[in-house]
């Protein structure tokens, strides 16, 4: 389960633990470190903030640059090599395709066939595909695929709990950390509950397949019970949390942390500078001609 060996824990990078009177035995320190999610490659081991910064800058830059060359450069120079280093190139490709396919249909409809343009390429019934439309659609698709891949790279290499823990180490209030982390658990639980309730309703003869009307009839009586049963738990859950000292203001000493390094800090600042430069170039119109 744990990828880290005791000799890999670098005391220079792990934040010092406030130990008060007692101090942490090496065995305990190893155990706590093993609680952190496993990370098979170097890219995985990067601090969540670094990976998030990379994803955010890539996404924003793709939007700001527009066109083809900008986003594609980001893809080829940034996202793909990182994905290769993380060993998830194929997985990422599949993920991005899955996300982009439904959107691609819409893009085709909105941007190719119905958009006003001059140079008509071909006509299907009342719809004409124009060169301008295809160009616009192309730019949108490139942008969306780059965004999907950049965020997918982040998502596939970062454990959500690790992200929340790291943010709390950096000052996020514990209550916000709770809300973010709890959402992870709540969604699958709610879907399980919905499936159970739907099965029970179907057993009572409710027809949920087929026509729009049937589908609608299948969903509406589901919304009420699923939501209500989730909400009635709020009271007990909040009392249980309160007796575990949940509402206490102030910082907490968390059990484990994600390593960071000065090199990564430098890279994050660099990414920020690049983003600002891109924004400035776009705003002042001094973008190089090829972008």
């Amino acid at each position: 389960m744990a990828w880290r060996r005791a000799d890999q824990i670098d005391s220079a990078t792990a934040p010092p633990a406030r130990t008060g009177g007692a101090s942490l035995s090496p065995a305990d320190a190893t155990y706590l470190a093993s609680l952190a999610p496993p990370a098979p490659t170097t890219y995985h081991r990067l601090n969540p903030l670094t990976k998030a910064a990379a994803a955010t800058v890539a996404t924003l830059a793709a939007f700001i640059l527009g066109g083809y060359i900008g986003p594609l450069t980001i893809l080829v120079v940034g996202v793909l090599p990182a994905a290769f280093a993380a060993g998830i190139l194929l997985k990422l490709g599949r993920f991005a395709l899955l996300i982009s396919l439904p959107v691609a249909v819409s893009v085709a409809l909105v941007s190719v066939f119905t958009r006003a343009g001059e140079t008509v390429l071909f006509v299907i019934g009342p719809f004409d595909a124009t060169l301008e439309g295809v160009d616009f659609a192309g730019q949108i698709m490139v942008r969306l695929i780059v965004v999907a891949m950049a965020l997918g790279l982040f998502g596939l290499t970062t454990d959500p709990r690790a992200l929340v823990v790291d943010l709390e180490h950096r000052g996020m209030p514990p209550r916000v950390a709770f809300a973010a982390a709890a959402t992870l658990e709540t969604i699958p639980a709610m879907i399980d509950r919905a499936t159970t309730i739907q099965a029970a309703q179907r057993a009572r003869g409710l027809d949920t397949e087929g026509s729009l009307r049937a589908r609608l009839r299948g969903v509406m009586p589901l919304i009420g019970p699923v939501i209500l049963s989730s909400l009635t738990e709020v009271e007990e859950r909040s009392l249980a949390l309160e007796v575990r000292a949940f509402g206490r203001p102030g910082r907490r000493d968390l059990l484990w942390s994600l390593p960071d390094s000065s090199r990564q800090r430098f890279v994050r600042w660099l990414l920020l500078v690049v983003l600002v430069a891109v924004i400035a170039a776009r705003v002042t119109g001094s973008m190089p001609a090829f972008l």
Partner: protein, 274 residues
């Protein structure tokens, strides 16, 4: 250590007081069983003793609740959490949902209290050891049986090392195996010397464990005495509480007029060495 003086409590929006003029004192190392029919006010008493009523759920409290002589009124619940622990019936809603391992779940209370990591780890380990659930430490808290989850809930409160440990019908939603596990856990808890207040319907769990029994009916104390006599008293049956099996056995023996071997009589008398 914990004192309720003339305590009456009314839930918000209700006219009737659920608790009426209670005078109860619990000392350190006492193990108190709380029995009573449904709607007698057992759960309400647990909430009041833990300080959640009225601080967290509103309502009106008259009288005073004192911890080591100091009134707890007005104290924020997270401060009280270090002194009084409370375990509820439903193992599902006590799971925080934010931890990946049982170890972190048990450590949660201590971490929330802002304790240093080393102290948290020590307390967590000791709590897991006391309840003999170290083997669950690496498990996913969402994938435990009801009984195991309830043990984790108990451990997570124990790791905060409260002076008074309250349990509100901890076995109500468990199957017989889970009930057995919790029963064992209660004995181990008792052995630590923490004061316990256990609200339960299953008097068999309280038999041999508690030093004292308080019976509640209609929000008032109708019985308060040493456990062995209290559990055998007719007052208990009078308010609808089923006494422990051995008591029922003893009464059945007496009623039948049969002569039974001495060992059986000893068992019925509560002698566990027979």
């Amino acid at each position: 250590m914990l004192e309720l003086r003339g305590v009456a409590y009314r839930y918000p929006g209700y006219a009737r007081s659920v608790l009426q003029d209670l005078d109860i004192a619990i000392d350190r190392h006492e193990i108190v069983g709380l029995v009573g029919p449904n709607e007698a006010g057992k759960s309400t008493l647990c909430l009041v003793a833990a300080g959640l009523a009225p601080a967290s759920i509103g309502g009106t409290l008259t009288g005073s609740v004192l911890m080591d002589g100091k009134p707890i009124a007005g104290l924020p619940v997270h401060e009280l959490a270090a002194w009084v622990g409370l375990v509820f019936q439903d193992p599902n809603t006590q799971r925080s949902g934010v931890t990946g391992t049982v170890f972190e779940e048990v450590a949660l209370g201590s971490v929330n209290l802002g304790r240093p990591v080393a102290e948290t780890v020590a307390r967590t380990r000791s709590s897991l050891a006391t309840l003999r659930i170290e083997h669950l430490a690496d498990r996913d808290p969402m994938r435990l049986s009801g009984g195991q989850a309830q043990l984790v809930a108990i451990a997570s409160i124990l790791a905060m090392e409260p002076r008074l440990f309250i349990l509100d019908e901890p076995t109500a939603q468990l199957d017989p195996e889970g009930t057995r596990l919790v029963g064992q856990a209660l004995r181990r808890l008792a052995a630590t010397g923490t004061a316990l207040l256990i609200a339960e319907h299953k008097t068999d769990l309280l038999d041999g464990l508690c030093t004292r029994i308080i019976a509640l009916d209609g929000g008032r104390v109708v019985l308060d005495g040493p456990a062995d006599t209290a559990l055998e008293s007719d007052g208990l049956t009078g308010i609808g509480i089923q006494p422990p099996a051995r008591v029922r056995l003893a009464r059945a023996i007496k009623a039948s007029g049969l002569r039974v071997p001495d060992e059986l009589e000893q068992v019925a008398a509560g002698d566990r060495s027979a």
